[in-house]
Symmetry: C2
Subunit: 83 residues, 2 copies
C-alpha cells in the first residue's frame, strides 16, 4: 500500500477571490502582516501498489483531481508501513 | 517575507463524503487500486516577518483557517528569497 499526497494550487495567473476573502478576514482580526493568501486543495489517497504507479497517479491528477486549465498539481508517493 | 504552507485535514474520525465521491469517480475511471481518498485544504500565505511569527501563524490556523472541532492542521514556514 502507498499513500499519495496530492497538492492542487491555482495557477499564478488565476485570480483567487476565496484567498482574498481569507486575507481580508485575517486583516480584520489584526493579522495585518498577511500580504497574500492562495487557497488550494490537499488530498490523501491510499492505493494498492501497481506497476505503473507514478503514471497512473499522474493520470488521476490530470483527469480528475485537478483542472489543469486553471490549476497546477504535484504529488508525493510514500510507502505505507502497515502495523 | 516568509511563505507559510498550511495543510488542513479532516480528523480521522470524521466522515469525508467528498472523498468518498472522488473515490467512486476514480473507480468508474478504472482506477480500482484506490482504497481511500481524504480531501483537505492547502493554503499558502505570504507574510511580513514578525517577532512571534510561529505563535501568530498558529493562532490564524486555530481561529480562522481550520475548524479544530473536525479538522487538524499543520504548517511549514519558509523564508522567501526576494529576487
Amino acid at each position: 500500500m502507498v499513500k499519495v499526497k496530492v497538492y492542487v494550487t491555482l495557477r499564478e495567473s488565476v485570480l483567487d477571490p476565496q484567498g482574498g476573502a481569507v486575507k481580508r478576514a485575517l486583516h480584520t482580526m489584526n493579522y495585518n502582516e498577511v500580504e497574500e493568501v492562495r487557497i488550494g486543495k490537499y488530498m490523501e489517497l491510499i492505493l494498492e501498489k501497481t506497476d505503473d504507479l507514478d503514471k497512473r497517479v499522474d493520470e488521476m491528477c490530470s483527469k480528475l483531481l485537478a483542472n489543469t486549465v486553471i490549476e497546477d498539481y504535484r504529488y508525493e508517493i510514500e510507502e505505507v508501513v502497515s502495523s
